[in-house]
C-alpha cells in the first residue's frame, strides 16, 4: 500500500514568517521547528541547488510542515503557490510517507512510476542527521505531490517523532 506510513501534510507559502504567524494565531501553535536547508538535489536535469525556509510542528501524530521556496530548483514548490505574492496563506503541497528501509523504498518508488520532481539531499550545508527524501509528482492522480522519506533513527529524533507513535 503506497500511501501507508503517512506522517505529514506539507504546505508552501510566499512568506514563511507571515505563514507561521497566521497558523500560530489560528491554531495555537506555540513552537515551530525551524530549518533553512541550503542543499543540492537530484533532478531529471541533473544536480541542482535548492534553498528554502522550513517550519514544522506536530499536532498529535500529524506533522505539519510549511515551506517557503527561496532559490534554485524550486519550481515544484512555486507551482502550488497563489499568483498573488502578497498572499502568505499556506497552500497544500504534499503528503509525506515514512519508510524505514531505503532500498525497499526505492523499489516501491520504481513500481509506483510517478514522475520524479526531485530527490536528495545530494549534499546539504546544515549539520543534520542522515535522511533521504524523494518528491514525486502525484498531481495527476492525487492533485498534489507525494514525498517518500527515509531517515536514520537520529533523523527521526531530530524531527521530533512523537514517542510511541507507530508507523502506520
Amino acid at each position: 500500500m503506497f500511501l501507508t506510513g503517512h506522517m505529514q501534510n506539507a504546505y508552501v507559502t510566499h512568506d514563511l514568517d507571515k505563514a507561521m504567524e497566521i497558523v500560530a494565531d489560528r491554531f495555537g501553535v506555540e513552537e515551530f521547528q525551524r530549518v533553512d536547508p541550503d542543499m543540492t538535489v537530484n533532478t531529471v536535469h541533473g544536480e541542482k541547488p535548492l534553498s528554502c525556509r522550513v517550519a514544522a510542528f506536530w499536532g498529535g501524530g500529524l506533522n505539519v510542515e510549511i515551506i517557503e521556496p527561496v532559490s534554485g530548483f524550486v519550481d515544484h514548490y512555486v507551482s502550488m503557490l497563489p499568483a498573488d505574492k502578497s498572499d502568505a496563506v499556506p497552500r497544500f503541497h504534499h503528503i509525506s510517507l515514512r519508510r524505514d528501509d531505503e532500498a525497499a523504498m526505492r523499489e516501491e518508488i520504481a513500481r509506483l512510476g510517478l514522475p520524479l520532481a526531485f530527490e536528495g539531499p545530494v549534499s546539504i550545508k546544515d549539520d543534520i542527521p542522515s535522511l533521504v527524501f524523494v518528491y514525486l509528482d502525484g498531481r495527476q492522480s492525487l492533485g498534489h505531490y507525494v514525498e517518500f522519506t527515509w531517515k536514520s533513527p537520529e533523523g527521526w529524533a531530530f524531527v521530533g517523532w512523537p514517542e510511541g507513535r507507530p508507523v502506520w
Partner: protein
Amino acid sequence: MTLTGMHFRHFFQNAYVTRDLARAEALIGARHGIGEWVHFEPEMDVFTATDGQGMAHVKVALGWAGNLQIELIEPVSGNVQHYLDRLPADEGNASPQFHHICMRVADWDATMALVEGGGWPVAYRGGVPGCEFVYIDARDSLGHYVEYMWMSDEMWAGSGGPAEITG
C-alpha cells in the same frame, strides 16, 4: 481544553473532491494501492454558510492506507457549493483536488461549544444517525477546510476505523 489544543489531535483523514468518483477511484486505486472502497451516497439536511439550511446530495468513497483514510467526494446537487469551488475548471478533469482534513472527536457538544465560542466560521454542518460533522472554513489560515467529526464506535468500526483513533 481549548480548541487550539485539539486542532489536529486524532487526525485520520485527507479528503478530496472530484468531478467523477469512479474515475478518481481508478486513478488513486491503480497508482496508490487502495483496493477496497466503501461507498455511500447521502442526501442530508445540512447547513452551509453559502446557502443556509437545505439538502445536500454527494457521492462518497472511503479507503484506508494504514491509519490514513482517503475520502473522495463527488458533489451531486443541493448545498454543495463549498465542494464545487475546489473543482478544476476543466469538466473533463476527474483528478482529485485536496479539500479538507478531518479529526475524530469524542465529545460532540463540547466540540461545537468550542467552535462557536471561539468564533470559528462554520462552512458546513450536518450529520446522519451515528455521525455528526462540522467543516471549519480555514481557507484564510491553512488554505482549506478543517473538519471535526463525531462518530459512534459501531459506525467507526464498520468504516474500518482503527481502534486507537478514539476521538
